[in-house]
Structures are given as C-alpha cells and as structure tokens.
C-alpha cells in the first residue's frame, strides 16, 4: 500500500542479480500460508497437466539417478576384460611357448596343478572369482557386445530422460503462462470494477506495479519453483537410495561432509544477508537522491547547492560501494569454499572407496558411480535452498496481486435499472449530503434545480473541490444521502453507464491515449465515420491543425508527444466530446497553461458545444460566470454559496470577495 510509483524503478534496479543465488533477500509475505494456498488454488484447473508434468519429471529423474550406476557397470565390464587379458598374458609369459592348454583350463585349476596358489593373495577380492575362473586356453577378448548392449541401453535412457525433461518443461511453462495471463486479465477487469474512491486513495503506480512487476515475479519464479521443486526432492531421495545400494559406509562418509557445507552456507548467508539488504536500501536512497536532484536541477544550480548535493551523493555512493563489496566478497567466497568442501568429500570417498575395493567389497565401476552421485547430490541441496527463498518472494508478489483482486468492488447497478432514452436535461439535486471520508461531510443538504439547457458555473479558488460536483454527477461517487435526478429519475436507479452516456465531459486534465488522432476522437463513439470525425474536429477548430500534421488524422499521439501542445490537446478532447454528442455536458475551462489565442479557440468551441445543452462548467472567466444561470461557489471542498451573479454580489459573501479581489483591483 505504501509503495509509491517511484519505488518501481528502485525495484527494477534492485532486482539486478547481486551474486549468489542462495542469497537473494526475499520480500517477506504477510500471510505466507494463506497466500500460498491461494496461489496453489490457481493451479487447480491445471491438475491434469500438472500430473503429467510430475510423472514426466519423476521418470526423467529416476533415469538420471539410475544411469550412473549402469555406466558404472560398463566400466566394470571393461575392468573385468582388462584384468582377464592381463592375467592371461601374465600366465602365458611364465609358461613355455609351445604349451597348449586344453580348453576350459581355469586359472584355479592351473594353479592347483602347479601347486602355486600364493599368487592369488595379490588379486583384489572383487576380481578373485573372475580371475580364478578365467579360461586360459584362449586369449580373452574385450566383450564389446556386452559393452554395446549397455551403451545402447544408456543412449535410450538418456534420450528418454532428456525428452521427458523437455516435455515437462514445456508443460510447466504453459501452465505458468496461463496462470500469469489470467492473473493479468483479472487485474485489468478488476481495475474497471473498482470504485473511483480507491484510486483517489491509492497511488496508481502501486496498482501498476501489481499488474506488471508482481505478476512478472510470480510468472518467472513459479516456473522455476515448479520444475525444480519436484525434481530436486526426487533427486535427493533417489540419489540417497542409490548411494546406499552401492555402499552404506561410503554414504556415511559422503554425508559427513554435508553438515560442513550446510554450516558454511548458513554462516555466509547470515553474514551477507545484512549486506545484501543494505545494498537494496542504499540503491533506493541513491536513486531517490538522483531523482530529486535531477528534477530540481535548476533549483540546485540557482541556489548553488551543487557542492552539497555532490557531497551527499558521494556519501551515499561510498556506503553503497562498501556494502556491495562486502556482499559480493561474501557470496564470491561461497563457490570456491563449497568447491573445496565438496572436493574434500571427493577425496574422502575416493580413499575409502579404494580401500573397500581392495577388500573386494566394491568394484571400480561402483566407485565411479558413487563419485558421480556425490557430485550430483550437492545440486538438489542448493536447489532446495534457492526454492525456499524464491517461494518467499513469489508468494509475497502473489499476495500483492490477490490483495488487489480482493478489494471491495463498486456497488453493482440495480437489476431493474430504469433506462432513459430521450433526455430533456433537467437535473436536480435534492438534499444531497456527501463527504469523501465518513464523518467529514463537505456537501451538506445541497439542493438545486437546473432547467433543461441551463448553464451552471462552478467557481472557487484552486483546490476548493470543484471536481466533487463532477464526481457526483457522473456517479464516480454516490451521495451519502439525498438524490440527484435526471429528468426526475434518481441516478442511483439507472445503470452507471446509462448516466455517463448522458454527459459529455471535457476536463482540463486532457487525457489522450497513445494511438492515432482518429482513434482518440472516436473514443466517444467507436462507430463514428471518418466524415463524422472531420466534422467534429472542424467544429472544435482543430481540423486545421490536424491537417497540417504529416499523417493528418492517422498521426500517432504518444505519451509524451511534443508535436501537440496542451491547448491542442484540449481542443482534441472537445472534438471527442462533440463526437460523443451527449445531451448534457461537464466542462473545465482552460486556464493559464494555454496561450491566449488558443484559449479564444477553446472558448469558441466550448460555446458551440454547450449550445442548447444543460451544462456544468468549472469556470474561470468572468464572462462565462456572469452568463451562467446558476453559480455554485465552492471553498474548502464544499459548496458555500449558490445563486446568480447579481444575487451573489448582493449577498456580499465569499463570492463577492473573490470577485472584487480578482477583477476590481487597481494599482
């Protein structure tokens, strides 16, 4: 709620990756479980797809886990063949050259015949049986056909696993993107169902960052959390099982290293967390300082504040440098030390493994497989750490999205709403009470009757709350009590869209969207023809200007377009209102931001527009005010006086004072 639009940029700059993956400072959600529950709820419609994904991930992971063991078998085969060949050579070297051993003569038999079994003690236990039963009659060859079979099996396993991973990744992204798409769609629809009061109380930048930043965060991390969480858990258990099947002794040794690395990771994370947080904060401070001084650049210069500003910048900058350096150093330490620790584990398993192999309790292929498992084991551990961190920020972001989606919406229109087809334009306020905050009424018991075709001038100093009247007429807000009627019908009994249909609106805040001029003009009547557009533009004195543009009505207006002045924008909004052709009007007169000639044009166009229509004008010009049928004088948010020009002057109240101050001064 407290997020201002400025924070957007901080956030974006802040999210640049600052080193170690485990070390991201996650934004903490307020209600972790509740929000996580809602997030999981979004997955429900995709249960089928998720099941497929899980199944595929399990398949791929299991294959991943099994394959080192099979690869180990391949090595074992080679080792066996190699030893057989060596033994054969060794035996035949000792035998006389022309001796031919009968088929099926094993090493054991030969040794017994020769009475020499002592040599066997040199053979490793694991190979003893193989060596004893070796057929010495023929030179043993490498069993390529066995190797080939294993290799083929592995190729198949690898391919299937890769495919499974890919498909599950594909399904995963589809699910996440679907969720994200729907989230955005819901948010966009929600914006239009929210009462205006919400946006008067909240910065629009806050809502904007929910629609973009937060949804993005959810989308990006959901993808990762999803795929990795499933495979990491399966991986962890699977590898553990495989390690145990190879050798429980080695497993214990390998696991002994774990607390060491856990402890280290924990230590560093704790130490560096502080610095990472500082980095975020200081980037925020630095950006704030830059923003402020950039915006107030002329003032800084005119008041010779450059040195001061630079000093401040240097201070913040060096603090940022310090915490960035510290945090980067800390997380930089992580990789090499982790590496060192895992190498320690490597050496320990290799030594112990070698010893076990000598005792014949382990084959070389098994050691190879085991070492592979050990190195794979670290991966899911790091992943689980990452995911828990990521989950925090995901849920925090999702929470902000849900928060907005769960805000109270506008009171829906009545089902049996009256429809006004032809409007005479009689507007009446009957004992209207209204306040933006409960208990702080600003309009008290206001009654007025405006005849069809009459003009109402709303006057008062800046900030007097002149837009309140607009808000009530357009049903952006509803009165607390009393009623506003159009042709005798309470606007509350009409659909909001029907009420708004009856009013054309030209506000000083000339809102145009990026698009062509034609698109902007037809905003009031989406079906208007090009000819209608041109006519309206002519009436608003803006056709000439538009024609002068390179692409005339197809010229694009961009957010910060400089080819269009404020005055021209205002003329365009008048043309837009003309095209909408509503029976009643709400207008804002131009003030100081428009040059005087354009102002004459605007005035002219507005007069045309108001002819014969009931109109409410936020007025600044005395001529408009004098000609008005009713003047509403506003001050401090409320209506303080009402009446005609003469009546109000005679009353000698606030209006009279205002009038005298502004128009009868002489120096």
């Amino acid at each position: 709620m407290t997020d201002k639009p400025k924070n957007e940029s901080h956030k974006r700059n802040g999210s640049v990756n600052h080193g170690g993956p485990v070390m991201m400072t996650a934004e903490k959600p307020k209600h972790f479980k509740k929000s996580l529950g809602k997030l999981l709820g979004l997955l429900k419609p995709n249960l089928g797809a998720i099941a497929v994904m899980v199944a595929l991930t399990i398949t791929a992971t299991v294959f991943d886990i099994v394959s080192p063991k099979i690869l180990g078998n391949m090595t074992n085969q080679i080792v066996d063949d190699y030893i057989s060949a060596k033994v054969y050579d060794a035996v035949h070297e000792k035998l006389p050259k022309d001796v031919k051993l009968p088929k099926g003569t094993t090493v054991k038999e030969l040794a017994q015949q020769m009475g020499d079994t002592g040599k066997f003690s040199e053979v490793p236990e694991a190979q003893k049986e193989l060596v004893e039963n070796l057929d010495l009659s023929e030179k043993p060859r490498f069993h390529y056909e066995v190797l080939g079979q294993i290799a083929l099996l592995l190729v198949a396993l690898y391919l299937v696993s890769a495919l499974a991973y890919y498909v599950s990744g594909w399904v995963g992204t589809s699910i996440t993107q679907n969720i994200v798409y729907k989230m955005r769609k819901d948010l966009s629809a929600k914006i239009n169902r929210m009462p205006i009061s919400y946006f008067d109380r909240h910065q629009y930048g806050d809502v904007l960052s929910r629609v973009t930043n937060d949804v993005d965060t959810v989308g990006q991390s959901l993808n990762q959390v999803f795929g990795q969480a499933i495979s990491a858990v399966i991986m962890l258990f699977g590898i553990l099982v495989m390690m145990l099947t190879i050798s429980w002794q080695l497993t214990i040794i390998a696991l002994l290293v774990l607390p060491l690395s856990f402890g280290f990771v924990g230590f560093i994370t704790k130490k560096s967390q502080k610095h990472f947080k500082n980095v975020q904060n200081r980037i925020g401070t630095l950006n704030g300082h830059i923003e402020e001084n950039y915006a107030g650049q002329t003032i800084v210069k005119a008041f010779s504040g450059e040195a001061e500003a630079e000093k401040h910048f240097d201070a913040v900058n060096s603090k940022l440098y310090e915490s960035t350096w510290k945090s980067q150093f800390m997380s930089g330490l992580m990789m090499p030390v982790m590496h060192f620790i895992s190498n320690l584990g490597y050496v320990a398993t290799a030594v112990a493994g070698g010893w076990l192999a000598l005792n014949g309790r382990l084959s070389i292929g098994d050691i190879q497989a085991f070492i592979q498992y050990v190195s794979q084991f670290n991966q899911p551990i790091v992943q689980v750490g990452q995911i828990t961190n990521l989950l925090q920020s995901t849920v925090a972001a999702a929470e902000r999205v849900f928060e907005f989606l769960e805000e109270t919406e506008e009171v829906p229109d009545r089902q049996d709403a009256t429809k006004l087809s032809i409007v005479k334009g009689e507007v009446e306020f009957k004992n209207v009470h209204f306040g933006y905050e409960p208990g702080q009424p600003i309009i008290k018991n206001f009654s007025a009757r405006i005849k069809p075709g009459h003009k109402v001038a709303i006057v008062g100093p800046t900030g007097a709350g002149k837009t309140t009247i607009v808000n009530l007429l357009m049903r952006f807000y509803d009165p607390d009590s009393g009623e506003i009627t159009i042709d005798g019908i309470n606007t509350r009994d009409m659909e909001r869209s029907d009420v708004r249909d009856k009013f054309g609106m030209v506000l000083q805040d000339t809102w145009l969207f990026s698009g062509t001029i034609k698109e902007n003009l037809t905003y009031g009547d989406l079906k208007a023809s090009r000819n209608d557009v041109k006519k309206a533009a002519e009436a608003a004195h803006v056709d000439h200007f538009v024609q002068a543009l390179p692409k005339s009505y197809d010229t694009r207006i961009e957010e910060d377009s400089e080819n269009i002045s404020v005055g021209e924008k205002q003329l365009l909004t008048i043309a837009r209102a003309m095209l909408a052709d509503a029976p009643m009007l709400i207008l804002d007169e131009a003030t100081s931001s428009v040059d005087t000639r354009t102002e004459v044009l605007i005035q002219n166009a507005m007069e045309k527009l108001t002819k014969g229509r009931t109109s409410f004008v936020i007025a600044h010009r005395l001529s408009t005010i004098k000609n008005a049928d009713l003047i509403l004088v506003m001050n401090n948010g409320g209506i303080v006086e009402q009446g005609s020009h003469q009546e109000l002057l005679a009353a000698d109240g606030f209006y009279a004072g205002l009038y005298k101050a502004q128009f009868v001064t002489k120096t």
């Binding site: 400025k6 490498f142 290799a151 991973y165 798409y181 800046t462 900030g463």
Partner: protein, 444 residues
C-alpha cells in the same frame, strides 16, 4: 580451469581428445541456437511489457474519462490484446529456453558414454590404463563446464558494452556553460539591475531562434513583467539570467557585469529564482527554505515564510518548521510547494527576483497578500515576473510583451493597451467587455 583441464586431458589420453572437441562443439551449437532464437525475442518481450505497462497506465490515469465514455470493455480488450501477445512471446522464449537444460545434460551424458566406449578400445589395445580413462572423463567434464560458463559470460558482454556506452555518453558530454576564466565582481553600488543588450537565443540544433534581438533594462525597486503566448519565449528569456543557458548573441548583464564573467556561485548568490512548479527536497521545511542561504537563521527563515504567505500553514504542520518534507515534496500541496519555493528565494535576500509563472497555484487573495508583503523586500531588487494573465501583472512598472521571440512592446499596462496590438488582444481574451471598457477608459 578449462585450459588446465584441456592440457591434462590431452596428456592423459591424447587419442581421445577429439571427443572433447566434439562435445564442446555440440555444446556451443546448442547454446548458440538457443540464444539466437531467444535473444531477439527478449527485445520484443521488453517492448511488449512496455506496451502492457502503457495500456494499464493509461487506463489508470484516464480512469474518469474511460468511465465517462463507458469504454471499460474497450480498455479491457486493448489490454487483453497486449496480454495475449506478451503471453505468446513469453511462451515461445520459455519453450526455447527449456530445451537448454535437457540438451546440455544429454551432451554431457553422451560424452561420458563415448569416453568409456572409445576408452575401452584404447585399453584393449593397451594404449592407456583404466585410471587414465577415469581421469580423462573428469577432465572432459571440467572442460565442458568451463565452456558453458564462458558462453554465459560472453552473453553478458554485449549487455555490459551497451551499458558502458550509455554511461560514457553522459560523462563525455561537454559542458555547455563554461565557467569564467577570470571572474569579475560587480561594484557594490550597482545593486539589482538586469540588462539585456540585443540578446538572441536559439536552442542547440534548432533552426529558428527562440529569442530575437531583445533589449531592456530592469531597475532595482521595479517590477518587470513578461507576457506573451505559450511559445513566445518568456521562460527562456528569464532562464538566461541565472545562466541555465547562454545567450547565442548579445549580452545579459547583472549589475552591469556580463553574466558570463561572473564566478558561478557569485552570480547565483544575487539571484532568487522561483520556478513554475514548486520544487522541494527531502528534509524539513526549514532546510528547504534555508536551502542556498546557508547561514540563514531561524528568524530569517520565519520572516521569509511570512512574506511568502507560507507561515500560517507551516505553523499548522506537525513539527512546524521542523516538519518533514518527503522526497520531491510529495506531502504538501501544489500551492504550498509554490509558497515554500518563494520563501526559499526570499530567504536568500537576492538582488534579482525571478518568478517564472510562479503564482499559478495561488488563489488571487493569497497572491495579493504576497505582492504586498514582497514590496518592502524588493525595494532594492529587480523583480522579473513571467505571467500568463494580464490580471497578475497590471501593476508592473514595466511590461515586456513578447510575440514569437521578439519584443512587441514595452511599457506599462495603460500605455500598452493603447499602443500594443498584441497586448490588447491578450487583455481582450482575458477580461470581459465591461472590464475592457473600464480599462480602455483609464488608458485614454
């Protein structure tokens, strides 16, 4: 690590080195393909995100207009179109990116398999030992990991280059306002005059000058006002005095010394500038008012606030003059910002006041009170006012009427009504017929 591993791998089993080369090549091809497919889409993605942002922002800022025209569905449709497009590209990129992991793993796995298969042959022929094969396998893995990190690092390089270019672009921009080599000082007796001598000014790269041949003198104790239509160059003109820009031709003199010849700080100490929109800095009310007048004491700050008609509302704020001002002054209203900006200029006790359309957020009553309060402090200072409305400057001793960058007339209100067509037009458009008649009668 990568190079070391290559060397070691070659020395343990030279016959198998082609496997590493093959694997690295395959790895590079996969990574290159993925990035070739994904990178251009990343650019598109950024644009689409911007678009979605834009649509949402427009819907939010134009909320009242959207609803006034009953175009909520239309906006939702626009959003949905952008949303769909974004989702589509996102899907594509992600689907390409998920190829990466399984493919790389596949290559690693196949490499190991190949090492063992080929290694078997070498062992069979007695070329290498089993231990060598095992070591080779480890080395091969290291080499490939190194290449992977290397490619990822390389992908970062172009981004870093772009950023670096953008930074140097800013840093290398030459200063447009050069400090005076031998700064001059004004004589003490010459306090509070501003003189323009045949000043012309064009923005860099613009064909048409904004100001053409402007000459006038603003004397101490007098108000000089500038009026004209939006693009007539009023604001530009007063911006030449504190050297926000330098005149292209002619000279701007303050206290009879060219502004270019002043030490920058010295010049600024003479000028009290109030911008169009009140600009405040984070800090307190006091730090803002005393900004630029460092030795300003509490009394001086309070006096300035009183003159600027800010005292009353400051006293109502929590903490009064120590009240916190948020970044950019977002916790005070536009009118309050403007009054504090005025107070800041007054606190400096300058010789030249510049009000660049600085009264627009003040109501007329406040404006009149402000004008009265300013009188005593501006007795010995030149006051330059840029204004939009005739009403605010009728009293000025000298009014300079600008039209398309040229002086269309100089004089006081009454004489200009008679002699200057442009001025009369402006007055006519702003005052009612009755008032005009009264004014014209006065002018006769």
């Amino acid at each position: 690590m990568g190079v070391g591993a290559i060397v070691r791998a070659l020395s343990t089993a030279p016959g198998m080195s082609w496997i590493i080369m093959l694997a690295v090549a395959a790895l590079l091809v996969v990574i290159a393909t993925v990035f070739a497919l994904a990178l251009p889409r990343f650019k598109i993605l950024q644009k689409l995100i911007d678009k979605l942002n834009l649509v949402t922002r427009e819907n939010l800022t134009g909320l009242r207009v959207v609803r006034a025209f009953n175009n909520e569905r239309h906006e939702e449709k626009k959003f949905d179109a952008a949303n769909k497009e974004l989702t589509r590209v996102n899907l594509f990129i992600n689907r390409v990116m998920v190829v990466m992991f399984p493919f790389v793993q596949l290559i690693l796995n196949f490499t190991m398999l190949l090492v063992i298969w080929v290694g078997a042959g070498f062992i069979d022929s007695g070329a290498i030992e089993i231990g060598n094969m095992m070591a080779f396998m480890q080395y091969a893995m290291q080499v490939m990991m190194s290449f992977m990190f290397l490619t990822i690092a390389f992908i970062m390089v172009p981004r870093a280059v772009v950023s670096w270019k953008r930074i140097t672009e800013v840093v290398d921009t030459p200063l447009s306002i050069k400090p005076a080599k031998k700064p001059k000082k004004a004589k003490n007796s010459m306090r509070g005059t501003v003189e323009f001598k045949n000043v012309s000014f064009a923005y860099e790269g613009a064909d048409e000058p904004v100001l053409k041949n402007i000459s006038f003198t603003a004397k101490p104790g007098e108000t000089t006002a500038f009026i004209g239509s939006t693009s007539s160059g009023k604001s530009t003109l007063v911006n030449l005095v504190p050297r926000f820009y330098d005149a292209t031709k002619g000279s701007v003199l303050v206290d009879e010394v060219n502004v270019r010849d002043y030490d920058q700080a010295d010049l600024m100490s003479k000028i009290g500038y109030v911008p169009q929109k009140g600009v405040l800095f984070s800090g307190t009310v006091e730090s803002n008012v005393a900004f630029g007048a460092n030795e300003a004491g509490e009394q001086q700050v309070k006096r300035a606030a009183k003159i600027a008609q800010a005292y009353d509302f400051v006293e109502k704020m929590e903490g009064k003059f120590n009240a916190h001002i948020a970044q950019g002054g977002s916790n005070v209203s536009g009118g309050q910002k403007q009054r504090l900006s005025i107070a800041r200029a007054v606190a400096k006790d300058p010789e030249v006041y510049i009000f660049d359309d600085s009264f627009s957020a003040l109501d007329f009553k406040t404006y009149l009170a402000l004008r009265e309060a300013l009188k005593p402090v501006t007795k010995k200072a030149a006051v330059l006012i840029v204004a939009q409305r005739v009403g605010t400057i009728k009293h000025a001793e000298q009014i300079v009427v600008l039209d398309k960058g040229k002086v269309a007339g100089i004089g006081d209100h009454q004489s200009l009504l008679k002699s200057c067509k442009v001025y009369r037009e402006i007055a006519e458009s702003q005052l009612s017929e009755d008032e005009m008649r009264v004014e014209m009668e006065g002018a006769e």
